[in-house]
Symmetry: C2
Subunit: 239 residues, 2 copies
Amino acid sequence: MSSPTPARRRPTHRKGRATLTRESVGRAALEFLGRSGPAELTMRSLAADLGVSPRALYNYVEDRRDLITVAAEIFESGWRPPELDPARWRDALRAFCRDLRAHHRRHPGMTALALSENITMARHPVMLRNVDALIGFFAAVGLPLQDAYRACMETIRLVVGFVELQDTVHDRPPAHLNPGDLERMPPPWLSADADADADLPYLSRIGELEPDAPDTLFEFSLDVLVEGIAARAGRDGSS
Amino acid sequence: MSSPTPARRRPTHRKGRATLTRESVGRAALEFLGRSGPAELTMRSLAADLGVSPRALYNYVEDRRDLITVAAEIFESGWRPPELDPARWRDALRAFCRDLRAHHRRHPGMTALALSENITMARHPVMLRNVDALIGFFAAVGLPLQDAYRACMETIRLVVGFVELQDTVHDRPPAHLNPGDLERMPPPWLSADADADADLPYLSRIGELEPDAPDTLFEFSLDVLVEGIAARAGRDGSS
DNA sequence: ACCTGAACACCGTTCAAGT
DNA sequence: ACCTGAACACCGTTCAAGT
């Protein structure tokens, strides 16, 4: 039942370029975020990227905030979570979190941008279905409905918070730091001061160990989350 | 042993105003954040706030990034955590987290600003001592040193992430949303569509319940954290 | 030594035309 | 209908003077 070419339609090209749409502009913004950081995404740089004048973008989005809103919607609609099998709920939850983390890392700064512009996330129908599925999963694991909702929010917050607070500084380390200085504890600029070191017995000992990779830290976070929820559910599942 | 007025010293006032210092400028920036949001903190607005020209600030900080670094250091040095008694470790950890959350909420956007400017936090000696104490606390609870460090990072990340992802949107709701729409689940703009509602059985049922206050969500997060760590420690403490 | 005022290169956004 | 170019009000930052 595919319809043939309608009588009149919007021109699809102009000056050799595909015409812009609200969606294509938002998609371009999201791709831009995949390459550069959030600070580099400006109306002017995105316009240059698309080969148009800055003014042209305003024919499809109201303003910069609206542009980021569209990008956020496309970002949310672009993730399909792995299946959540309550029968092996620990592994299922871990896989869900790992996948969500990877999705966020693909578009660094998307969440930071949405936060700075006060954009409400989780508004896209696709993401709401994901949220609903996660709540249902926790309910099936044995949590009362209210707790299942809270566990869902906690799970998403843990993953997003990890990406924003841990991964982003790791994936794009500040230029003024030597690579590797980030995970060193205590920080090297402090260890130069022997007095300070003496006051930090635990950090000093940790400084002698191999620093944790972000993945190791993330798995520890998942351990805490999974066992914390298991305690709340009052049972331990089958895996 | 207080020294008398030295022969020459830096003038303390100029044109009726206290002279600026690197610290006073940073402190002013931090206070500014307590009143307004991070987007409002500009070199020009802060200069106007201090009654000087924008250029004057550059005599004390190198640039905007440096200004925020100073503000972050003052922010970190301005918190003294409650005592961490391993004998009643669950309550102690909860009190620690509640206090840290309150500290962050007092300066909304400080963390977001540090993240956007790629500023490494936890560099101030005072904060490093707090971190060291928290690691020692977890070690005393029964975690191996490596895990104690990870639990420390997880704890701080949980609190900071909660403030950034939950409290900030709550404390400064976006202007275009009706108050109360934020905690309503499913979102009202979706409930208008009956089809969508039918696809979201759990969110629909949650929408009929009283929405959680942020404090309730935070306590749930603490439940998960505490029990997750208890499982890792393999014992349950004394309280 | 520390400040001001003007200036430069950016940014988001709008206006008045062009085709 | 959709675009460009010039313009405005902002921003961070710097330069050349002032006192």
